[in-house]
Every structure is written in C-alpha cells, then in structure tokens.
Amino acid sequence: MSNPFHFYTRLNLTELLGIKAKNLTELLEGIKTVSGSSIYYHTHRFLQQHHFLSPEPPNDFAYWVSNVLQEEKIGEQLASVDIIQFKKIHDLREKFISIIEQYLKKKPLQKEASDGAEFHFMKSVTFIMPTKYVANNLAEFSEAIKKISIYSIYFHMFEARLRLEKGENDFSNWLENELAETELSKKIAKLDPYTQTLDSLRQKIIFFTERRINAKNK
C-alpha cells in the first residue's frame, strides 16, 4: 500500500531587510551577505507575482541592472541564469556572484542608480499549510491537480525543489517512490516551470497524467 500524496499550499510574507544597493559593487556585496531566503525571493518574485505572464520578467537582479542601471549586457547575462539547473540556493547565489565579479573586473567604472531607484533587498517568510486534497492513486492525483490553487502547484513544483532543497519536485518524487511511475515522474521533472505560466504547467501535468491513466486502462 503506497503512502498518499497530501497537497499543501504556501503563503508568503515579505520582509524588508533594510539593505540597499546603488551600484553593481553594492549589489554584489548584498548578494554575498543576505540569507538564502533573500536570494530565493529575488529569483522567484516575478514568478509568484506575474505567474500569468509568459514570457515573464526575469529575476529581480537582472531587471534592476537592465532597467535602472541600464547595464544591458550584464543584465542579459543575469537574466539568462537557468534557475531550473540549480538544486541548492548556495549554488544559485554563487552563479550570480561569479557573473558580477567577472563583469566588474573588465568594467570597473560603474553606473549609479538615482535616489529612490536603489535595489532593496527583501526576503520571503513562507507559511506552509495543508489543503483538504489527498491522492491515493493516479486518478485522484489528476483530479486534485485540477482543483488545487496555483499556490499549491507553486509550492510543490518550485518551493519544494529549490527552497526546501529536496532536489526534485514533490509530484515527481511521489510518483516515482510511491507509485513506481518512473516515466511519468521523469516527464514532470523535465518540465521547465520557469518558462511557462503556472496554469499551463497545471495543464501539462494533467495531460501527462491522464494519458498515462488511459494507457493503463487499455
């Protein structure tokens, strides 16, 4: 008998850290010193607030460097960091540090943000709550995915993988370990959630799951 999948959701509260950056050097200093929760916040804020948009705006660092400092080259480099490849916040932080450090070596003269346009470091306090949805098998899983909020999808696909550093998303883990649905698990793990809306992600998970259910019923 496999263990059921309990769907959770998460709600965020934003904490202001009182740390701001006026130029790339100060941004680098901030990225080096703030908590992992802050790095997570600034790489996922647009995703959470603009989950209906595709393509969505890039991470906060890239947006600020491109739009406020008008440093388009490094802005593009920061925007192109492929977050799905990172399984630990520490590694993601190191990637941003290395891009900025290399850029500053080549271009030490820096642009400054005007007063009021500085980068403000923040972080998320995340509250995780159980929902009423539980799945014991593929059919119940598919039905629940249709009903849960996008915040629940977000929690299991993004927060679990990178913020809680489980390495893989919760859906894939359960499908593999509890239902031995290796292929379906891999298909969901392969989806890049950073390049589509949460609703489109939901539709793809439903599609893959129902196709698998139909194949088993044949």
Binding site: L11, L16, P57, H120, M129
Partner: protein, 409 residues
C-alpha cells in the same frame, strides 16, 4: 460593507478558504488597532473596511483612538511633512508637548490587545507602555507614509520609539529604514467591490461623459489626481499637446475639491492657463459627494490612464486603473514600480517627452495597449486587492509567534 464570500467570484474560493484557515489560527487573540482619527484619511478608510472582514473571519480586531487637541495635531502635521522630506522647523517645546500628550494617552487607553498595531507617527510613543506588560503583548508600528527621505531630526525622534516595537510595516521597499527590528512589506490595496472600482453599466458611464462634455468615439487620455504640483498636471498637458500634433484625442484631468490644500487653487489656475481653453482638454473638479462613481466612470471611459507623478506615496490610482484593464503610463516613483513592471503591465516614464512617446505608441498599437491592461488587471487581482492585504496582515500577526523563514501552520 461587502461580506467576505462576496469576494469569492473575483479571487476564487481557494483564497477565501485560505483566509478562513488563517483566521482560525488567530482565534483567541485580540488585535487592537490604534490611530488618531476614525474618519477621513487613508488609514481610517482601510480600518473601516478591514476590521469588519477580520471579525467575520473570526479574528477579534478592535479599534481605539488617541486624543489630542489642535496644538497636538498641528505638531503631528509638521512631523508628517518632515517625514515626507519637507523642510520644517520643530521646536524642543513642540517635541515636549508631543510627549506630554503621548503620556496622557498612554494613561487613558486600555491596552487590552494581544497584538497592538499603532498606525503612523501620532500614537508612536505609546510604545512606552510596552514594559508594563512584561513582553506579553506584541507591538507593531504600521507606517503608512513615505519616509524614503525624511528630515533627520524628526525621523531620529520618531525612530527612538520605533526601535522598541516588535515589528514595523512599510508600504513600499523604498520606504524601508535601517532599523534593529523586523520590517515587513505590506502594500495598500483597493476594494474591487467599492463604488470606485465596481463594474458600472454603460449608461452611467455615458451619463458622466455627457455631463462633462467629453466626446464619445474620440480617444480619451485621463489623469485622476488632486491638483498638486507633485502630480505634475502641467506636464500631462505638455505631453498631451505633443501627442495631439499627430493624433486627434482628448485629455481629461479630474481631481477632488480640496479645501484643506492651500495649493489646490494655485495649481488649478496654472493648469487652466496651460490648457489655454483648448476644447479637447477637460479640466474637472469633482465634488466629493459624486466622487467615487464619477471617477470610476471616467477611468472606464478612458483609452489610456496617466499618473505622471513626480513624488508619490503609493499611487493607488494606478491599481484602480489597471483593475479596469486600462493601459497605464506612470512616473516611476514611490509605490508605482510595484504596481507596474515596465512594458509588461504598464509603462514607466520619467519625462514629458517619454510620456508623449508612449501615449502615441499605445494609441497606435491598441493590441499591445490591451495586453498591458489585461496583464495589469491580473497583477492587481493577484497582488493589490483588499483580500491580499487582509492575508498579509494575518501572516504578519502569525509571524510574531513563529521564528524562522519557513513556518509550518
């Protein structure tokens, strides 16, 4: 006042359920709000709407007021201006009088709450009572004003009290300060069911256009704001005139009568002078009694909404316009960049010429303008409605009883 379930068709049952769960988690706790006035002003408006909803969600929220005479409120008005960065001279005698009134209020008020939320600077010194309760109560200072560039003397005076709180709350990142206590970001919100934001039948919109002589079928560009230098209505007219060289359109400037603002008439006269009796520039002064429905109708009748502010507290007129799916062009100041992500959910500009350029672009690219409005609407739905505001207050209250960045409820 609408009931919580009336928001369900807008934000979904899931979100209402989440609020109910959070409400249950706070049951048994009393939230005591304290501010300086029950009517007029943004704080009173927010509390009047939020407290009944908090109560309906099972949270025992109550509201008390401090007392202070004319002299006290003249001093706190000076504080308010100084915290906004306006050069103001506050004497030692005035600081002393502020403290004297704070002491009187501290003696008179019954501090029955488990969590005490002090709004703005007027009651900030009530924190002196904290030590009487031996750490049994949580004290929160909720700052509703722009303190991005405060006068140092007044800010340092206020700061000595703020530092004694358990947490503080600011409306925008740019207002955050270097403080030894936690600072939370909770932005203000709009109520989608209020007269200012609810859906309106077309005949009401048409009646408002007819009343003000606004032509139907000719593009309408609108700025809603009081006649204030910081809202740059003269700059809006300058941008409009640049646009009108190429595109036939109308401009609507609409603001309240503001008897308490000594600069209102001066700015209004400058605006009229700049408009130079142009029949396509409609300068409206709307009576407060008709205000909300008329503003709603004007926003809904517009093709583009402008908010060309030079300085802004939060700029909720931007949220109001985006909620109505209108493309918005606004100054990148105060809380406006939180509401608009440039080229995704609106346009951020810095100059008259930039504003004119984008008005032309959007009038000539209606599909793109429509997309901006739709994206903006989704953004406001997810992030700037009253229900999000309630949720964040509840989370902030809960955070005071939990440590760490990840909390399992």
């Amino acid at each position: 006042m609408p009931k919580i379930n009336e928001y369900s068709p807008i934000i979904g049952e899931d979100t209402i359920e989440e609020l109910k769960i959070l409400g249950e988690k706070l049951s048994g706790k009393i939230i005591q709000h304290i501010n300086s006035t029950s009517v007029g002003g943004g704080v009173a408006e927010i509390l009047n709407r939020m407290i009944p909803l908090m109560n309906e969600l099972g949270v025992d929220a109550r509201w008390d007021l401090i007392k202070g005479g004319e002299k006290f409120f003249n001093i706190t008005k000076k504080f308010h201006n100084a915290l906004h960065g306006v050069p103001v001279e506050v004497s030692e005698e005035e600081f002393d009088f502020f403290l004297q009134v704070a002491n009187e209020n501290a003696q008179a008020i019954n501090f029955y709450g488990d969590m005490i939320v002090i709004h703005d600077p007027q009651p900030v010194a009530l924190i002196k009572k904290k030590s009487d309760f031996g750490g049994n109560k949580k004290w929160i200072w909720r700052c509703h004003i722009d303190v991005s560039c405060p006068d140092p003397k007044v800010w340092n005076f206020i700061r000595q009290f703020v530092c004694q709180y358990d947490a503080s709350v600011f409306s925008a990142p740019v207002f955050s300060q270097n403080l030894p206590i936690k600072q939370y970001l909770i932005s203000p919100s709009i109520d989608p069911l209020s007269d200012k934001n609810k859906e309106l039948p077309q005949d009401i919109i048409n009646a408002v256009l007819d009343k003000h002589g606004i032509e139907k079928g000719k593009p309408v560009i609108t700025q809603i704001s009081r006649y204030d230098f910081l809202k740059d209505p003269v700059g809006v007219i300058a941008a409009f005139k640049l646009v009108r060289k190429h595109i036939d359109c109308q401009l609507v400037l609409a603001g309240n009568t503001a008897a308490d603002d000594p600069e209102h008439d001066k700015v209004l006269n400058m605006v009229k002078e700049k408009a130079d009796s142009d029949p396509d520039i409609h300068i409206l002064v709307i009576e407060p009694s008709n205000n909300d429905i008329e503003i709603n109708a004007l926003q809904r009748a517009s093709d583009i909404i402008i908010q060309k502010s030079i300085r802004e507290g939060f700029g909720l007129t931007v949220s109001e316009a985006l909620w109505k799916k209108k493309p918005v062009i606004a100054g990148a100041v105060g809380g406006i960049p939180l509401q608009i992500t440039h080229k995704y959910s609106g346009i951020l500009t810095h100059t008259v010429e930039g504003t004119a350029y984008w008005i032309k672009q959007l009038l000539n690219s209606p599909e793109y303008a429509k997309k901006l409005g739709l994206n903006g609407h989704e953004h406001i739905k997810n992030n700037f409605l009253l229900t999000r505001h309630l949720r964040e207050y509840f989370l902030m209250f809960l955070s005071l009883y939990h440590s760490g960045d990840i909390v399992y409820l």
